[in-house]
Symmetry: C2
Subunit: 393 residues, 2 copies
C-alpha cells in the first residue's frame, strides 16, 4: 500500500522516457479514491510493490516502476495509460501476461473494476518475437487465393464423426469450392477420431479434390492438446496430410502458439475459444483485442475472432478492432488473417464483407456449409455465389 508521498514516483512525462523500453498499457478502472492515487497504486502493484530494502535508501522505481503517462478521470471512471518497462518481464508471453493481467493489476488497492483495454509494443520489443511465418500474403501464395476472402468451413457434425465420414464431407466441400476445411475447435486427438487417422483420410481426400479442381486445398487440423504433446501431434497431423494446424491459445496458453510457430512449416491458426471469459464484460477483465494482438505476436498466421451478428454478443466496433489488430503495422511482425466467425452462411457474406471493407479476411461457415440441406458441396458453392453479389471492396 503506497502513501501519498509515493505518488510522483509512479508518474512520468512521456517525452522524458526512452519509449523503446516500455510497453504501453491502456486500462479503464473505477475508483472511489483520488484517481492519481489509485493509478499510482495500480502501477506499484504491477511492478515495484516494494522498491527498497528495509534500512536502505535505494529507489528501484526509476528503472523498474510502471509509470502513468496519461490519465483522464470522470465520475470515478479512470482511463489511464501506463508505461511498463518490459525489462520487468522480457520477451516472454506468460511473463508479460502476469505483469499486465496478474495479481498486481487485478488486486491493486483503491482500484475496483478494472479492464485492460489495449496494449502497444515498441519496435525494440517486437523484434524479439517471430510473428506470423506466412501471414496474409504468404497464405494467399500457398493456396492461390486472390482478390477475395479465404472460404473456410468447419466440418460438422463437430463431434463424434469417424475419420472416413469426416474426410468424405471435407472432400465434398472442397470440390464445391471451399479453400479450407477445418476441424472444429473441440476436435483434437480423440479416441473416436484419432488425429493420425483423421489427417490421413482428410489428406487423401484433399489431394483427390486438388487433382479434380486443379486448385490447392487446405485441411486445417485442430491439434490443441497438452503443451508437451504439441510437437508430436504437429508431426502426426502434417505427415499424414494436414497442411495447416490450429490450437486454442487461451486454453493451451498463448505460449503454446509461439511454441508451434517455432516448429511449424505450415500456417498456424489461433482460435478465440476462451477469449469471452475475460473479454466480454465491459468494465472488467482483458479486452479481446489484447488477446488478438498476443496471438499475432505469438506467430498465429490466421486468427479466429468472434464475428458479427447477434450470436457472438460483440459490437461491430469490437469485431473491427480485432480485425485491425491483425492488419495494423506492428514493427517486424507480419499481418495475420482475421477470421471473424459465428454462425455465418452465404446469406451473411455480403454483410460481413461490407463491414470488413477488404477481401483480406477469412469467411468461415460451419452449419452454413456442412448443415446445408443439399450437402456440403452445395454449401461451399453457395459462398462463391454469394461473393459474386458483393460490390467490389
Amino acid at each position: 500500500m503506497i502513501e501519498t508521498q509515493d505518488i510522483p514516483g509512479f508518474f512520468a512525462d512521456r517525452t522524458t522516457l526512452d519509449l523503446s523500453r516500455y510497453v504501453m498499457l491502456r486500462y479503464r478502472f473505477e475508483t472511489d479514491a483520488d484517481p492519481k492515487f489509485a493509478a499510482a497504486s495500480l502501477c506499484s502493484e504491477q511492478s515495484t510493490a516494494q522498491w527498497h530494502r528495509p534500512g536502505s535508501t535505494e529507489d528501484l522505481r526509476p528503472q523498474f516502476a510502471a509509470k502513468v503517462v496519461a490519465l483522464n478521470a470522470k465520475s470515478g471512471v479512470v482511463d489511464v495509460t501506463i508505461a511498463h518497462p518490459w525489462e520487468n518481464f522480457g520477451a516472454k508471453l506468460p511473463n508479460l501476461i502476469a505483469a499486465v493481467a496478474g495479481e498486481g493489476a487485478f488486486y491493486a488497492p483503491m482500484v475496483k473494476a478494472i479492464k485492460l483495454m489495449d496494449i502497444e509494443f515498441p519496435d525494440a520489443y517486437l523484434k524479439q518475437f517471430e510473428g506470423p511465418q506466412f501471414g496474409i500474403k504468404g497464405s494467399r501464395d500457398i493456396f492461390k487465393i486472390e482478390g477475395r476472402p479465404f472460404f473456410i468451413g468447419v466440418v460438422k457434425p463437430n463431434l463424434g464423426l469417424p475419420p472416413e465420414q469426416f474426410a468424405e464431407l471435407a472432400y465434398e466441400s472442397w470440390v464445391g469450392g471451399l479453400d479450407i476445411a477445418k476441424d472444429d475447435e473441440m476436435l483434437g486427438d480423440m479416441t473416436w477420431s484419432p488425429l493420425a487417422d483423421r489427417a490421413r483420410a482428410a489428406g487423401l481426400a484433399r489431394r483427390r479434390a486438388e487433382k479434380e479442381t486443379g486448385t490447392p486445398k487446405c485441411y486445417l487440423a485442430c491439434i490443441s492438446d497438452e503443451v508437451y504433446d504439441l510437437p508430436s501431434l504437429y508431426k502426426t497431423a502434417v505427415e499424414n496430410g494436414a497442411n495447416a494446424v490450429m490450437i486454442n491459445p487461451i486454453c493451451t496458453g498463448i505460449s503454446a502458439a509461439r511454441q508451434l510457430r517455432r516448429i511449424s512449416e505450415v500456417p498456424v491458426m489461433g482460435h478465440f475459444a476462451g477469449v469471452a471469459v475475460s473479454g466480454r464484460v465491459s468494465n472488467f477483465g482483458v479486452a479481446s483485442v489484447v488477446w488478438t494482438k498476443l496471438m499475432r505476436l505469438a506467430g498465429c498466421d490466421w486468427i479466429g475472432i468472434a464475428g458479427f451478428g447477434p450470436r457472438m454478443q460483440c459490437s461491430d466496433e469490437e469485431v473491427m478492432a480485432n480485425v485491425r489488430a491483425c492488419w495494423e503495422p506492428m514493427g517486424n511482425i507480419a499481418q495475420a488473417l482475421p477470421i471473424p466467425g459465428g454462425s455465418d452462411t452465404a446469406e451473411t457474406l455480403p454483410m460481413v464483407a461490407q463491414k470488413v471493407g477488404s477481401p483480406d479476411f477469412g469467411f468461415i461457415s460451419g452449419r452454413g456449409v456442412f448443415g446445408h440441406e443439399q450437402g456440403p458441396r452445395a454449401g461451399a458453392t453457395s459462398l462463391h455465389q454469394a461473393w459474386k453479389n458483393v460490390a467490389p471492396i
Copy 2:
C-alpha cells in the same frame, strides 16, 4: 440454433447415466427465454452443435451430447448441472477448458451472462491424471514441518534486486524461521537477475541457513516462462539450488503445470496470477474454484489462492471454497497445500488460521517479512511468535 423439439435430446435422468463417463459442470446463467430451452442450447453449443449429416437420420447425441441433469430457475437466473461426456475432450486440460469455457459455452443462443461455478470429475477421469507428487503430507516430510502452517515469504523488493542481494535477504528470513523463501510471481529468468545466478546464490544461502538452524529450508524459484523453455529452466533452477519451483498456470496455460509435474523431482507451486480476470465477476466467467481444481489436477503440490482481507476482494466463502478444493477427496489425486495470500503479516496470522481451521495451509507474507522495519530475520520470527498466540486448531 436448436428447435423446441430438440430439447429432450439434451436432458437426461442422472440415474440412467453411466456417471463414470461424465464430468459434471455447474453453471449459473441469465436468460430471457424458457430456462429449459436455454439450457438445452447451452448443452448443444458446448457439444453436438450439429448431430447428424444432412440427409442422414443419425443422432450423435446419446453418446456425445452434454445433458442437463438438474435445473433450477428463478426470475431469469438459472442454476443448471450439466453432465458432459469426457470422451469429447479426453484427459487433456486444454481440451477440457475449450469444452467447458470455450466458444460453445460462452456464445450459446439465449444464454446471456454465464459463469462456470464448479466442476466435478468421476474417478475414471481422475485416474488419467498424475495429480500432486508430494501434496501436503509429502511436503511436510521433506521440510519437517509438523502441526503448524508452512511459513512462506516472498522476497522483496520483488523486482530489480540483483541475485546476491536477493540471497542475502532470503538467508536472513530462513535464519529467522521462515520455511520457504520464494520468488515473486513476476520474477523468472530476467536479464537483471538470471535464474541460474539467483538460484546459485539462493541455494548457497539456503544450505548455510540449513546448517546453522539444523532445519531443512526451501528456496522456491519462479520459473514461469514460455512453455518450450520450462524443462531447461527447471533444470537450471534445481541444479543450481532451488528445491521447489513455481509457475503462473493461468499465464503459461495450466497444461504447463502438468508438463512440469511430469518432469519435476521437487514440489511444484501454481500461483493464482490471472485467476481474477475470469473469476472476480459474480455473474460471468469461470469461478476461481474451477481454476484451483484444475491446478490440483495438473499436479500442483502447492496452490496459491487469493486470500482473506479486503485487498483480495474475495469473500471468506470463496477463499474457503478454494481451500477445500485443495483438501477434499478427489479420487487418486493427492491433496494440495492451499496458500491463501494477500498482504498478510504476523498480525493477520491468527485471523487466517482461525478461518482456515486447520494447520494444513501455507501462510505467506511478502512485505510483512521482507518489508519488516527490523529486517527479514525479525519479520520471519514474528510469524512464529504470532503462531504461539493462535489457539489450537
